[in-house]
């Protein structure tokens, strides 16, 4: 049974922020949840999927974030409490729905979880999605800890239902991936079936209806503001001439810094958790009590700008500062010492940190080797990249490689170096269209199977319709590998009892009008190379579907690794071909006695049998 369903109310458990959100949703009686996985949001969906197998709620891995939000919106319109979770950039995909859903409103509580990623641990940008709450006009809660993540999820459902608006729970990596103590509440019973009540002149957003709906949204926002004024998530602590304002995990850093610097009773601290719409009266009271204000928030000056606007309206001229030289940056996540140092500077107290140690490289007298992330041993993406590299080399053609988002983006690094351009999910196909049209160069685009369904379908239809010239390689490993092996519509590897109906990826490609189509197993080198050469030399839209399952997931599902292993037999001479073209992490070089010997680590070798097809010195051996 899922851990989320065990334990008595009042019990203290160590939950990941994302697990706390899932638990909060279950305590709120969420009836439907939908997500597209993405770091740092993925565990919310994964835990709710596990729970859904007990029949307590309906869960789906949706094709993309827009789909997830719209599925949740439909369930909410039928009276169910619904949750859609996604990473910050996923909200961009869902934004078309979000902006107008705020007009349409909701019936059952609808919570949108946005998991932002300051410092870009696993993302293509570090956009601040608090601006979406203001942009769309929806209430927003910002937790600072797993406990608050659970409490706010519960509160968000209630708030959403009371106001008839979707509510954004805006988290960051440091909340999603912090494991902290959470006190369990009561689990809600599974909900009865919903029922949709027709009301087309409120719910069908044609211009005449939407004009009214926009006016209604502004009224609801004023009601939301009144709730923000009274919200327990917004609170004033301490008294003193310096006012400090913070939200999210930055509030945790401030609380610790005030404690450690001995400033707890010398500063007026406004912690904001209900951050859209902002509690203007509470903020005005705070501004009137202090002489100057320091705003502590990661990324954009969302609170800072709002406070300045409120102060201006009230004729207050006290200095309000946050971002700027000597203060805080708009870049990257904060950490405790950074916040403590700025607070110490502003308050002119001793910072009291231990003296920093000299950098390790300086002490060692040489740089430390980097440890870049790399495609796993046995990964079929590496084999496909290799075939394209060799095909282009043999044909004497330079290729341009628009790529996409997934494990295969790691093909960026040498020796593969198979990524030239990337914006977002699905952009491989569409940017390939523009690149080849403008440059006339040979363009080979790469996209994964999950990403293809997420954002690739319109691009491929476009490429066919507008007679573009590109070779699209679909790297189909049967799962959404990067985020933890979640299913997607084209899935071929599924968790046991997964109820989804698979959609045939090859049939979809053909149905979109692609006439030049090849299908290969990239781990079969000869056939793959021949097909790739053929495909590279043609004109027009060509699709090469490279199908081989993710070995990591196969091993996990079967609970064991393949038994075949490969070793270098004898001396392999001075050839570096496998190192310069393949980059398998199981291979390493031993230098000695004036010559170099390549070795394969039997612990790391995944037994994919690809290298054995390239080199006579490599031979299979029996694993122990």
């Amino acid at each position: 049974m899922s851990e989320l369903l065990t334990g008595q109310p009042g019990e203290r458990r160590l939950f990941l922020g994302n697990e706390a959100i899932a638990r909060g949703a279950l305590e709120a009686g969420v009836a439907l949840a939908a997500c597209y996985p993405g770091t740092p949001s993925s565990e919310i969906g994964d835990r709710l999927y596990e729970v859904s197998r007990t029949g307590r709620l309906v869960f789906e891995y949706s094709t993309n974030e827009k789909v997830a939000l719209e599925v949740a919106a439909g369930a909410s319109a039928a009276g169910w409490r619904a949750l859609a979770s996604m990473k910050h950039v996923g909200v961009n995909v869902a934004a078309d729905a979000l902006m107008t859903l705020a007009y349409v409103g909701v019936k059952g509580g609808l919570v949108l979880v946005s998991a932002d990623d300051p410092s870009l641990f696993s993302s293509q940008n570090e956009q601040d999605n608090r601006l979406y709450a203001r942009f769309a006009g929806i209430p927003m809660l910002e937790p600072e800890s797993p406990q608050e993540a659970k409490d706010m999820t519960l509160a968000a459902f209630v708030l959403s239902e009371e106001l008839g608006l979707p509510v954004m729970l805006r988290t960051t990596t440091r909340v999603n991936h912090t494991r902290g103590v959470v006190t369990l509440g009561e689990l809600a019973s599974p909900p009865p079936p919903g029922r949709f009540l027709k009301d087309p002149f409120s719910l069908v957003m044609v211009p005449a209806v939407a004009r009214q709906a926009h006016a209604r949204l502004l009224v609801k926002l004023e009601q939301a503001r009144a709730r923000a004024e009274a919200s327990p998530f917004n609170r004033l602590e301490g008294t003193g001439p310096l006012g400090v304002v913070a939200s999210g995990v930055a509030a945790a850093y401030v609380a610790d810094a005030l404690l450690e610097l001995g400033l707890k009773d010398k500063v007026t601290f406004l912690r904001l958790g209900f951050t859209h719409p902002l509690p203007e009266e509470l903020i005005a009271r705070f501004l009137s009590r202090v002489e100057r204000v320091l705003v502590v928030e990661e990324l954009e000056p969302y609170l800072e700008d709002s406070l300045k606007a409120i102060a201006q309206c009230r004729g207050l001229t006290l200095p309000i500062r946050g971002k700027g030289a000597g203060l805080f940056s708009r870049l990257y996540e904060f950490h405790p010492a950074l916040v403590r140092r700025v607070l110490a500077d502003v308050c002119q107290v001793d910072y009291g940190a231990p003296a920093p140690l000299p950098p390790a490289a300086e002490l060692l007298g040489r740089p430390l080797p980097e440890r870049p992330p790399i495609l796993c041993p046995g990964c079929p993406h590496r084999a496909m990249y290799y075939a394209v590299k060799i095909a282009l080399r043999d044909l004497g053609v330079e290729g341009i490689f628009p790529t996409d988002i997934g494990c295969y983006t790691l093909g960026l690094l040498p020796p593969l170096a198979m990524a030239d351009y990337l914006i977002c999910m699905g952009s491989s196909i569409t940017t390939a269209c523009g690149l080849s049209r403008a440059s006339g160069q040979k363009v080979v685009a790469f996209i994964g199977d999950s990403t293809f369904f997420h954002g690739g379908l319109p691009g491929l239809a476009n490429a066919v319709h507008n007679r573009h010239d590109l070779l699209l390689v679909i790297l189909d490993n049967g799962t959404t590998a990067m985020t933890g092996h979640q299913p997607h519509p084209g899935v071929t590897l599924t968790p046991p009892d997964y109820p989804g109906q698979p959609v045939d990826l090859a049939a979809v490609v053909r149905a979109l009008g692609v006439e030049q189509f090849w299908r290969v197993n990239p781990l079969k080198y000869k056939d793959t190379l021949a097909a790739t050469k053929e495909a590279v030399q043609k004109d027009g839209v060509r699709v090469l579907l490279a199908q081989a399952p993710c070995p990591l997931y196969v091993a996990r599902l079967k609970g064991k690794r393949p038994t075949a292993r490969f070793q270098i037999t004898g001396e392999c001479g001075e050839c570096r071909h496998c190192l310069d073209y393949l980059g398998c992490p199981a291979m390493h070089v031993r230098e000695g006695e004036g010559r170099r010997q390549l070795l394969i680590d039997p612990e790391l070798c995944a037994g994919c049998a690809f290298c054995v097809q390239l080199c006579d010195h490599i031979r299979p051996v029996k694993a122990k």
């Binding site: 458990r13 902290g180 995990v249 080797p369 440890r371 992330p373 291979m587 390493h588 070089v589």
Partner: protein
């Protein structure tokens, strides 16, 4: 706790966190997920005490468990002059080293650098002990056992062992527990202390 993707730093921090919770503390852990896990550096932090910040700033870790020799040196960034470090001396060559682009620094030279800077350094081959215990992946359990034996935490060896029994894969519990014991024994071996903490 810092190491290489796949070494089990996450599980180690989870075990320590659960043991601390059982002992009545309010621990805070932070974890690395996603892209970096594919063979990159993985760091997790555990905070005991009544703080709210889930991460540790550079220079402010009181205790470092380094799961790999090079990562022990890299983790100096998190250390101060009184930090106690427990380091696995086993080597996992990063890719640029494996393919001969750059050399891997001498392990003894790296440990000597660390020993000069921190307040205490316990270093031994945890990988060898894990293999001896029957599970090459139990480096995390070896280091936790060594940590328990240093008696620096308000969490007892018995607390940690109970969590290992309750929360780790049943197939590996026995190997995990014997890895834990071997780590504890390694911490009692005077030769493994490259620097003794001041009393």
């Amino acid at each position: 706790m810092t190491g290489v993707g796949g070494q089990g730093t996450l599980l180690a921090s989870r075990v320590l966190g659960e043991a601390a919770l059982a002992a009545g503390f309010t621990p805070l852990l932070s974890e690395t997920h996603g892209m970096a896990q594919r063979g990159g550096v993985v760091t997790s932090t555990v905070i005991l005490g009544d703080l709210k910040s889930p991460i540790i700033s550079p220079g402010e870790a009181d205790l470092v468990l380094a799961f790999e020799a090079l990562e022990a040196l890299r983790a100096l960034e998190y250390c101060h002059a009184r930090t106690l470090m427990l380091a696995n001396t086993a080597v996992i060559p990063p890719y640029p080293v494996a393919v001969g682009q750059v050399s891997y620094p001498e392990v003894s030279a790296m440990l000597a650098v660390v020993a000069r800077q921190v307040g205490g350094l316990l270093a031994f081959d945890a990988g060898a002990l894990a293999r001896e215990a029957g599970s090459p992946l139990a480096v995390n359990m070896v280091l936790l056992g060594a940590l328990a034996a240093t008696d620096t935490l308000p969490v007892s060896a018995a607390d940690l062992q109970q969590v290992i029994r309750d929360k780790t894969n049943p197939r590996f519990v026995n190997a995990n527990l014997s890895a834990f014991e071997m780590g504890a024994a390694a911490a009692r071996e005077p030769a493994h202390w490259l620097r003794r903490p001041a009393a």
